[in-house]
Subunit: 403 residues, 2 copies
């Protein structure tokens, strides 16, 4: 394979690790010596179609800048939520993309994103194959939600878990200072799956844990919830509850007040903790507090999991390895070995990952449907190991911004 | 002064630094060799009246435990919000307190708390003086709100500022990834004063800052706000606004509305950020996001300001120094030197601090009433300097709990 150019983009919701993956792609491209130029597309395929691209090799000329990139949250190349239409319909977007790639002598297209983004990888790779084009299309997984199928876990998940569990431990300390009965409800991200909520199970490993945990994989019931809360209040006054933002009643309605939809048809959820705090206050009369962890769960780079960041760099590099082997339409994935935690790599077809959602296994949820099991803890714990703090300047973290 | 016992308690809302101050008291008592026993009262004077006290010297026998205490958030001794009645009225609480102190041969009473707690220090010191009792009463300042008069700043404030400014920088990165117009409103603690909101000014020192900042010291106006937001949107699409939770309209009403009454007749109070997000969405039609930083602002010990923690330990030790000089009814305070940042100590009468609130100076707020000035930045910046991370075990911070 001779000298040619490659391009990388980021897509979907940002995470703390999406730039570590970008760094992994950049590093591997630099080291391979087979790639002449590595471009970055600004705002995913949206920017690519406008030829809004940057030369990454000249931007990242040293180790220090790549280090800073790895610990900067949120997509340094910007993002988009644009979906490609099905092949065989209006192919103008595909034509535009290919036109830009050809014009810039780009033969490898890397796309870092979640299950919606893998749909783009799948479709684009089918299009280039159908038209016998000399372009390889590789997806690289990403999401705090950990809901991609096939892969053991996703880049970004471990750091989000570390942040959530740390913050919950600190909230538990805050709640413990008062003598009066109080119920504090903490709302954790996770549209449909309880992977992030599962991190609440870790607090109990050292000291007082979260008292009740509610996963979206189980139908929520107000009466059962109140009964669970009462039971805990009988034992101690400072009750801390963790809920997924996506908990729903048995009729399918979300336990929150306001929602709207994004362009992918995903509902924007908020307010479940507030709704339940009202319920508790009304039924039990005690003090309540609702805390929505919100966006910081996905961008708290000041508290990354060193394991997550290292793995995210590695999977970016692994994507380059697959491309240099001439693969296309595929995605590198994590494989967890049995026994002591050790990560390995495999790959999957983008088609098998796109648009699918992975839910937590039944054996993660306690029979009482308001707790997590040992299996749950065992799964999450290795992913939050190790600390890697950003450089601080003037008291605040240094961030790398690509203009 | 011969061998005698002392007692220390914590009161009011917890902070990240309240245990560092406790550590300072413990350290200085140990080093003085003049104190036989140092007790801790559980849950402030509430616990003291029930003689719920612990022997702190035997609990903290080594450096490692004091280190862990300094980086554990929230009052390790628990807290209370109990106020003492005025002297001359029902004095039964005073009698009870003195009874417990006498029984345990306690001659020095330290109380770590905010302006309400300084009221307790003031009244109790008056009571012991009136009754010619051999008891010294010393207050030690504390609050994330920074609203205590006399002192240059308060223990706990610097860490809260570091956390807020760091989190805002990360939110700014997250908002920057999208191309669509969006207004993100971040709600910061501080019911009446804008000291914590002032930390939003620091983000602009390196990279994109917060676009608009609204302090509670200025009357809020919806039309002006929308006009400010429009002006920023004309320049760039990712608008980030910081507001104090305590912003009010010119008629005194808080900008957080009751949007419903639940089935029990409880008004649902949603936050100011949520209210303003609705306003923006309604008037401008763009995407909006409301983020309430909430309790983590006061307990995020995984990201303390090393300056804040060091000063908080020192002020605890300084309180012991004042007690050993025979002072009573007083409070050590910070004094900032001119020129390069250097902290010094003085003391004030608890009476002059109790029940008073300090607002931010006019010269901290820009003339446009939606920004902060250089003076504001200059004041806050030294207080967030330096990082001191807790020890991590199994991926989570180690916390010291006093049973």
């Amino acid at each position: 394979m001779g000298q040619f150019n490659a391009i990388v983009g980021q897509s979907g919701g940002p995470t703390c690790a999406i730039n570590a993956t970008l760094s992994g792609v950049i590093r591997a491209c630099l080291e391979s010596k087979k790639i002449n130029r590595l471009y970055g597309m600004k705002n995913g395929i949206e920017g690519l179609m406008k030829e809004d691209i940057v030369d990454l090799f000249s931007f990242f000329e040293d180790e220090k800048s790549l280090d800073a990139l790895e610990l900067t949250p949120a997509s340094a190349l910007g993002t988009c939520r644009l979906r490609l239409p099905d092949i065989g319909g209006d192919e103008s977007r595909y034509e535009k993309i290919v036109e830009v790639l050809k014009k810039n002598d780009i033969h490898i297209f890397f796309y870092i994103g979640g299950n919606d983004s893998m749909d783009t990888v799948d479709k684009l790779s089918q299009y280039v194959k159908k038209n016998a084009l000399d372009i390889l299309v590789i997806g690289v997984p990403k999401t705090i939600d950990n809901d991609l199928v096939v892969t053991d876990h996703t880049p970004g998940y471990g750091s989000a878990c570390k942040y959530i569990a740390t913050t919950l431990k600190e909230i538990i300390r805050d709640c413990a200072v008062y003598t009066q009965k109080a119920v504090t409800i903490v709302e954790i991200m996770g549209r449909d799956s309880g992977w992030l909520t599962a991190s609440a199970s870790l607090c109990a490993l050292d000291g007082k844990g979260v008292d009740l945990i509610y996963f979206p994989e189980r139908a929520f019931d107000d009466d059962k919830f109140i009964s669970d809360v009462k039971r805990v209040l009988d034992d101690h006054n400072d009750v801390v509850v963790a809920i997924s933002e996506g908990i729903r009643y048995s009729d399918g309605e979300y336990v929150c007040h306001n929602n709207s939809v994004d362009v992918f048809g995903n509902r924007q959820l908020c307010g479940s903790a507030t709704a339940l705090a009202s319920l508790v206050k009304g039924r039990l009369g005690c003090k309540t507090r609702a805390i929505e962890l919100n966006v910081p769960q996905r961008c708290a780079s000041h508290l990354c999991s060193a394991t997550d960041i290292a793995e995210s760099v590695m999977i970016g590099s692994h994507a380059v390895k697959l491309a240099l082997e001439g693969r296309s339409g595929i995605v590198p994935v994590f494989v967890r070995q049995d026994g002591e935690y050790k990560i390995g790599f495999s790959c999957a077809n983008a088609h098998d990952i796109a648009n699918k959602v992975k839910f937590i296994p039944d054996n993660f949820i306690g029979e009482d449907e308001c707790s997590a099991t040992e299996e749950c803890i065992k799964y999450v714990l290795p992913l939050i190991q190790g600390e890697r703090f950003p450089e601080f300047k003037n008291g605040l973290p240094v961030q790398l911004v690509i203009k």
